[in-house]
Subunit: 152 residues, 2 copies
Amino acid sequence: MKDFAGTPGTITGLVLRISQCLFAAGSITSMASTNSFFNITAFCYLIASMGLQVMWSFTLAFLDAYALAKKKVIHNNVLVSLFVVGDWVTATLSLAAASASAGITMLYFSDFGGCQSGGECLKFQISVVLAFLSWITIAISSLIMFWILAAG
Amino acid sequence: MKDFAGTPGTITGLVLRISQCLFAAGSITSMASTNSFFNITAFCYLIASMGLQVMWSFTLAFLDAYALAKKKVIHNNVLVSLFVVGDWVTATLSLAAASASAGITMLYFSDFGGCQSGGECLKFQISVVLAFLSWITIAISSLIMFWILAAG
């Protein structure tokens, strides 16, 4: 196993997990505060996917914080394999949800000649941007996890 | 470098590349044969992304076929790094395009109470399904490439 920035049990690893949590939670908050999100399947899927992301990243942030506090190394093969699968599944779902919502936001904003829902439009946009930021951070974690599994 | 099914210069690697090409080309054909795709940004993006996928996968299929015919091993570090970057970029773009189009197809089919464009609806659905199939095959190739780079 290799030990570098971003691996489980490091400060950068913890920062990545907390960022994923915060971006995903922000995306859910922004989307759920609109009145019409439940009419559109992709927006409901975004909330579900970001909810899963929050739970997954929070659990791993907790594990990272524990490993840091106790100065334990959590690089055993079974744990890393589990992290890789979880990271890849959540990363794929997050990208799919963010893209589907972005497609619909684009449809409303440019293809239909401007969004007609006033303040809600901005909330949809903020939610999509935060979902993409959450995906970028989980993608970095996924690549690092896959790297330490393959290099192990 | 490890040598297993799906790596560059193997029969399975070549089959994966050809499948990516065929699925992406099918997705483009189905989408481009509709009259209204250019009104929707996500559908135009799907065509652009699948076009890039066809070019990339065709080039790598050609390289695989060349390596098989000449019995050459094309596992040097520079080539594999290039393959990894290209595969990841095209896989991410394909998933994003397929998801954005799927979000809009869902919007038309279920959220708006049924698609009104007759035969075009089926073509949109076929195009999205083929784009996802193309993404699944490029995702397998990407994981294999990243594995041989990390394990190298």
